[in-house]
């Protein structure tokens, strides 16, 4: 069973690598942000699999923290980072 979990974890890691293409290409900032969101979820899955495969229960806590904080960056992106070009493009 550990081999299978490790294999799936490796497969998920490769998924992340392929997904990087979307971050590089964009084209819009929201595209990139949601890809990062997917990476967070994939990271949670990888950590859970590793915790089981390597018998390191502490990694479950890492997955828990990752799951808890996964949304913080997205929220910051939506509320603080991305501008509405139609509204503040012509200020002053």
């Amino acid at each position: 069973m550990p081999e299978l979990y490790l294999g799936v974890a490796t497969f998920l890691l490769l998924n992340i690598m392929v997904g990087l293409i979307r971050i590089l290409r964009g084209p819009t900032p929201p595209d990139r942000m949601l890809t990062a969101q997917l990476f967070g979820t994939t990271g949670v899955a990888i950590l859970l699999l590793l915790a089981s495969a390597l018998s390191l229960p502490a990694l479950t806590d890492v997955a828990l923290v990752l799951a808890l904080l996964g949304a913080v960056a997205t929220v910051a992106f939506v509320l603080r980072a991305w501008h509405k070009p139609d509204l503040d493009g012509e200020e002053e």
Binding site: L14, M17, D61, A76, R80, E91
Partner: protein, 348 residues
């Protein structure tokens, strides 16, 4: 075998990603790549059998730092909008920026790097990399095994988890000074007077109720998880830093979603909260001198209790520090409506 393959993918991905983060000119893209990088670093720590650091990296590297950078990029965009007509050169830069941009509102790094600068930087960095690789490969078997010494003395350290023992007992002086660095960081940021630099405005007007719902759901869970990590630190991975990071993220969420007003209501309250961890640590460290004659030398009978008290206050201060760094502005004495109207005035 499989684990080797997993590590190989990680080892290939990390430098590749790092290189892309550094060479990308679009700042949004760089930040989001950096978030992905933080995630992979957390996975690497997990593979290196260092769950304590993986915890901290998952919270700070993949979560909070990304949010901080995004906030900064938003602030940069806000800045760039206003006058860029000082000289012909800056207009030229602005035009080039327009040309590079793939979408409106995307900030772009404007520094031009001629080829000879790149070459001049590449050569020594390559040399450094080679030297480091050579050095690491040629490591002898160290004459001293500090890890062994640490676990031999674990009994006397008052806690059952090696990392916590090192951080709060064997090398507690380092940790004390590092907590000072955190406090100092806030003061240094305040000294920049960035009060009026804020991230961009909300890109949504609807949808906030959903966000508020999430924050209300997460608030108790994050408090529980923070408490759990703090409590667990005495015998398994966790501790004040990880707990503080989770609670700090909660603070950032509360500030972002508008459920708590940015300069956390009362200036002196915030100051006390920021300083209390350092003050308690320093106070206990000094007070035990009366009993044992040395700075930070806890009396054996009360070691565990003192460490827990220190960690409790550290958690509060670390969490507040992270949230305060996100708000950036120092708290003002005359609060409330004025601050709010200032902000409004800027946005319109």
């Amino acid at each position: 075998m499989l684990s080797l393959f997993f590590d190989a993918v990680l080892a290939l991905a990390l430098p590749l990603l790092a290189w892309r983060v550094l060479t990308t000119r679009d700042l949004y893209r760089a930040v989001i790549l950096f978030i992905a990088f933080g995630l992979l670093v957390a996975l690497s720590w997990a593979r290196l059998d260092a769950p304590d650091i993986a915890l901290a990296e998952a919270a700070i590297g993949a979560g909070l730092t990304g949010a901080l950078f995004l906030n900064t990029v938003g602030g940069l965009v806000g800045r760039k909008r206003s006058p860029s007509r000082e000289s012909d050169e800056s207009r030229e830069v602005a035009e080039r920026r327009e040309a590079i941009q793939s979408s409106p509102g995307e900030p772009v790094d404007e520094v031009m790097r001629p080829w000879w600068v790149r070459l001049a930087l590449t050569v020594p960095i390559l040399a450094l990399g080679l030297a480091l690789g050579w050095a690491v490969v040629s490591f002898p078997e160290p004459a001293i095994d500090l890890a062994q010494q640490a676990s031999d003395n674990l009994e006397a350290s008052g806690v059952d988890h090696g990392v916590t023992a090192v951080l709060l007992n064997f090398r507690s002086y380092d940790t004390l000074l590092e907590i000072g660095v955190l406090l100092l960081a806030v003061v240094a940021v305040w000294s920049l007077d960035l009060g009026r630099v804020r991230g961009g405005q909300a890109a949504l007007s609807k949808g906030l109720p959903v966000l508020h719902g999430l924050v209300r759901l997460l608030t108790p869970i994050m408090i529980i998880v923070g408490g759990y990590l703090l409590w667990a630190g005495a015998k398994q991975p966790g501790g004040a830093f990880q707990a503080g990071a989770v609670l700090g993220a909660l603070g950032v969420l509360l500030v972002l979603s508008g459920l708590v007003r940015p300069p956390l209501s009362d200036g002196s309250g915030l100051r006390i909260g920021l300083a209390v961890g350092f003050a308690v640590f320093l106070g206990i460290g000094t007070a035990v001198m009366l009993a044992t004659g040395e700075l930070l030398n806890y009396p054996p009978a009360s070691t565990y209790g003192l460490i827990i008290i220190i960690e409790l206050f550290l958690t509060v201060s670390i969490a507040l520090t992270l949230a305060a760094l996100f708000v950036t502005a120092p708290p003002r004495k005359e609060q409330g409506s004025k601050e709010h109207s200032e902000e409004k005035g800027e946005e319109s």
